[in-house]
């Protein structure tokens, strides 16, 4: 034991020294090239995370690849999923603030015209009312898919979520009553100018209470498949968080037919040997860009990228297997680092794979503050921070 400890410290020292010398070398290189290289706008038109043509659909497990597909952005894909679900089951209802005219992000556009005012409607402006009514409707066999206008405004409904919906099945016991089919959708995350109340990503708060499946898609094709799973197949209530910056930015080929993608199953986006990055939602695009830069700068380096898709209950097996293979892990998310998703993953990974780890599990996440209007760029993770984290972790 003592011996191993000694060996580890020595190894660590050597690596620290190494990384320092490299640090100064790269400093010099950077000083001579002051142009922006990492924190450039994400190229949604060419990112490897989206299906720019139907040809790549077959590479994502679970996506139908033989039929027709359409180019959709994220809000259109959500809309397509809702339309498919409303058509597939007359138990599906859609309601929330401003839902009738299509919602402030257009996710429910056209649905009232198509499915009628009994199934798609505006509610008064009360989140606790919306979620409470959804719970009651689900308890009586409907599949209510409700919209909270912004994740920042879900908190009036917290009692209904934490004390009611999350505990519903457990409390009912042998009555068998449950809330399968209840889906609470909400746009979340930063857009650059949302400040304190149009930026938050409160997934960690939901994950702390078992009972819900907490899902966050990164792309239109994912959104459609995961949302259809949540509405039509899940026997548990689902919180479905939609990164609102992607509503228009992320465009890809989405299969036209109805399909589902499994909940609580991660997707390995890219395989690699030296490091695993675990993320979900919008930061995945930054991870992909940072990985590309790091792999270019460090020939031979290969980084694995895992999209959790469902944040809780999460796919521990896929993540642990990946980290045990690579020996290094970074978790990236927008929401605050303190008591966040990264903390849970880091703890789980080190419990399961301590002896295989070559570096501490790193968290690159929102800083422990609020997202003030002028400071968002510095609070949330960006490509440069992820790039730096990759090098720091492999050089540890």
């Amino acid at each position: 034991m003592a011996n191993r400890f000694h060996r580890l410290t020595l190894a660590r020292h050597r690596r620290l020294l190494d990384s320092h010398t490299r640090y100064y070398a790269s400093q010099a290189a950077l000083a001579s090239t002051p142009v922006r290289r990492l924190n450039v706008p994400i190229e949604f038109g060419s990112t490897p995370l989206l299906h720019h043509t139907a040809k790549t659909l077959s590479k994502t497990p679970g996506l139908p690849s033989s039929g027709a597909s359409s180019r959709l952005n994220l809000f259109q894909a959500v809309n397509a999923a809702l339309r498919t679900a409303l058509a597939a089951s007359d138990r599906v209802l859609c309601f929330g603030e401003d839902v009738a005219f299509g919602g402030v992000f257009r996710c429910t556009a056209g649905l009232q015209d198509e499915f009628g005012k009994l199934r798609v409607f505006n509610t008064p402006l009360t989140e606790q009312g919306i979620v409470g009514a959804a719970i009651g409707a689900a308890a009586e066999g409907r599949k209510p898919v409700v919209e909270i206008q912004f994740a920042d405004y879900v908190f009036p409904a917290f009692d209904q979520i934490v004390n009611e919906a999350a505990k519903f099945r457990y409390r009912e016991g042998e009555t068998g009553a449950n809330l399968g089919g209840l889906v609470i959708r909400m746009p979340c995350g930063g857009v650059g100018h949302g400040a304190l109340y149009h930026t938050q990503s409160p997934e960690a708060l939901f994950c702390h209470v078992p009972g819900f499946r907490v899902v966050m898609p990164r792309s239109p094709s994912q959104a459609k498949g995961l949302l259809l799973s949540a509405i039509l197949e899940s026997k548990d209530p689902v919180i479905f968080m939609e990164p609102k910056i992607l509503y228009r930015a992320a465009v890809e080929e989405v299969p036209d037919e109805a399909y589902t993608l499994p909940l609580s199953k991660a997707e390995v986006i890219k395989t690699g040997a030296d490091l695993t990055i675990i993320s979900y939602g919008r930061p995945l695009y930054m991870c992909a860009a940072a990985i590309e830069a790091a792999e270019k700068d460090r020939p031979g380096l290969s980084v694995e990228l895992v999209d959790l898709r469902t944040i809780y209950p999460w796919d521990r097996q896929t993540v642990i297997e990946s980290v045990v293979k690579t020996g290094r892990a970074i978790v990236v998310h927008e929401s605050m680092v303190n008591f966040g998703v990264g903390a849970e993953i880091a703890a789980t990974v080190q419990e399961a794979g301590f002896l295989r780890l070559k570096a501490p599990v790193k968290r690159i996440a929102g800083l422990t503050t609020h997202t003030g209007l002028a400071y968002e760029k510095y609070v949330l993770p960006d490509v440069a921070r992820i790039y730096d984290g990759i090098l720091a972790t492999v050089d540890y």
Binding site: P34, R36, G102, V104, N122, L196, L367, T369
Partner: protein, 455 residues
């Protein structure tokens, strides 16, 4: 188990009617008010239920049907033609003061148009205009005292102007620059002012309403302890949409039960983003709810600045009577504009609806007609005022636009009174990172650049 509980309850029901249950009788001892007992004199016409003390018995089984009650009336002093309709009304302002108030209405209307366009040009990130609601905000604020404490929703720039918020202060907030007292943290239009006793606006709807009750209770306690302090009230503004939140109901009830000197002013402008009032409530507006909570309530024509002033003046008096009590004002108006720069209202309402409304009634035009009839205003004065206001707005605009952003350090400050060790560490890491990757960030826009992150 369930069956047994049920039958037990039924056994309770078969007790002789005039005998109160023993458990309740036993709590009748000195110090507990009569309202909490079920005792009654024989042959009384009223039974003093603990929850409804003055309800007469009736032998007719009849439900109260909301539609059978007349809608609560809407008070107006001056109609849309600028003509006085309340015979008892006499303006309590000198001509100069009327003109000053009118110019404040013009000012927010002008600023709104300029800033809406500025957002369209990408100069600021967001804006909300208050077109159509100028009388409501300017008028109500014009009868408050400086010491009164105000909570706003977001469409109350008229309240800020009327209380003395300068154009420079508006602009500094809108540009989130280094002179913004909100330290560049809030979205545009989330103003606040310590000097004017207006708490900083918070986006989550209706949260300010129970806070206003508590703040009013604080003012009441303050005066109970030190009667030499002048009496003050709290005023809280909110939309009819926000009134659907649980916080609204919590607020009115707690304000009523704790006798809080709070004036709740609802701007009922017909819409909450796209949601029309028909989807928002089915009762008689927001005013009828005040009655339900035992709160003195009035509905006014929100486009009649005189009516708003008279109602708010009276509300302030009431709020300070009997040791304090809440008052509810529902001011009826119309949201002429889009909800915000993020909204296109013609996706959910017809353009003609808006045009018709604008032609029918406009709070600024109404006061102008009144002033013209009185001979204190003219086309020439109108033109001159509009031009000088426009110049002032543009000047404040270009000055604020030039000011640097606040120190980037402010992103870490005020989370706690003192920065935690964790935050200090994050600040140091950020500084290291910015030094390591100087080309990736534009720190020059922040006052002091990277150096503000020094420990």
């Amino acid at each position: 188990m369930r069956a047994r509980i049920f039958s037990h309850a039924r056994r309770g029901l078969t007790r002789p009617k005039h005998r109160s249950p023993p458990a309740l009788r036993s709590v009748q001892h000195p110090g507990i008010r009569a309202g909490s007992s079920l005792s009654q004199r024989p042959d009384a016409q009223f039974l003093a239920f603990p929850g409804a003390v003055k309800s007469a018995f009736t032998s007719s089984l009849k439900f109260s049907v909301p539609n059978e009650y007349p809608a609560m009336e809407t008070y107006r002093a001056v109609d849309q033609h600028g003509e006085v309709v309340d015979r008892s009304f006499t303006p309590d302002l000198s001509d100069d003061k009327v003109v000053r108030i009118y110019k404040n209405m013009l000012l927010i209307s002008t600023m709104d148009m300029i800033m809406f366009d500025a957002q369209r040009q990408g100069r600021i990130s967001f804006y909300m205009v208050s077109a159509g609601e100028e009388a409501l905000t300017v008028g109500s604020a014009s009868v408050l005292e400086k010491g009164d404490v105000v909570f706003c929703q977001y469409r109350e720039q008229g309240v800020f102007v009327e209380r003395g918020f300068g154009l420079d202060e508006f602009m500094n907030q809108l540009f989130a620059n280094n002179k913004d007292p909100g330290r560049g943290r809030n979205m545009p239009v989330h103003y606040g002012s310590a000097a004017l006793n207006i708490h900083t606006i918070s986006s989550p709807l209706a949260t300010q309403l129970p806070q206003a009750a508590g703040a009013a209770y604080a003012l009441k306690m303050q005066r109970a302890i030190d009667p030499s302090i002048p009496p003050r009230v709290v005023v809280a503004y909110f939309g009819e949409g926000a009134a659907s939140e649980g916080d609204f109901h919590a607020a009115l009830n707690i304000a009523a039960t704790r006798s809080c000197p709070a004036i709740y002013i609802c701007r009922n402008n017909g819409y909450a983003i796209s949601t029309p009032t028909l989807d928002q409530y089915r009762g008689d507006g927001i005013a009828s709810r005040g009655i339900g909570y035992g709160i003195e309530t009035i509905r006014v024509d929100g486009n009649d600045i005189w009516a708003v002033r008279e109602a708010t003046k009276k509300a302030r008096e009431l709020a300070l009577q009997d040791g304090g009590k809440p008052v509810l004002i529902e001011a009826m108006t119309y949201r002429v504009s889009h909800h915000s720069t993020s909204d296109d209202s013609f996706a959910y309402r017809a353009k003609v609806e808006v045009e018709d409304w604008k032609r029918r009634d406009n709070p600024i035009a109404r006061l102008r007609k009144w002033m013209e009839a009185k001979g204190i205003w003219s086309d020439a004065k109108e033109k001159e005022s509009r031009e000088s206001i426009r110049r002032d707005v543009l000047k404040a605009f270009s000055e604020a636009e030039k000011v640097q952003k606040p120190p980037i350090r402010y992103m870490f400050e005020d989370v706690y009174e003192e920065m935690t060790p964790e935050l200090k560490e994050q600040m140091a890491e950020l500084k290291d990172h910015l030094e390591k990757y100087p080309g990736e960030y534009e720190l020059a826009e922040f006052e002091g650049g990277r150096d503000s992150l020094n420990p």
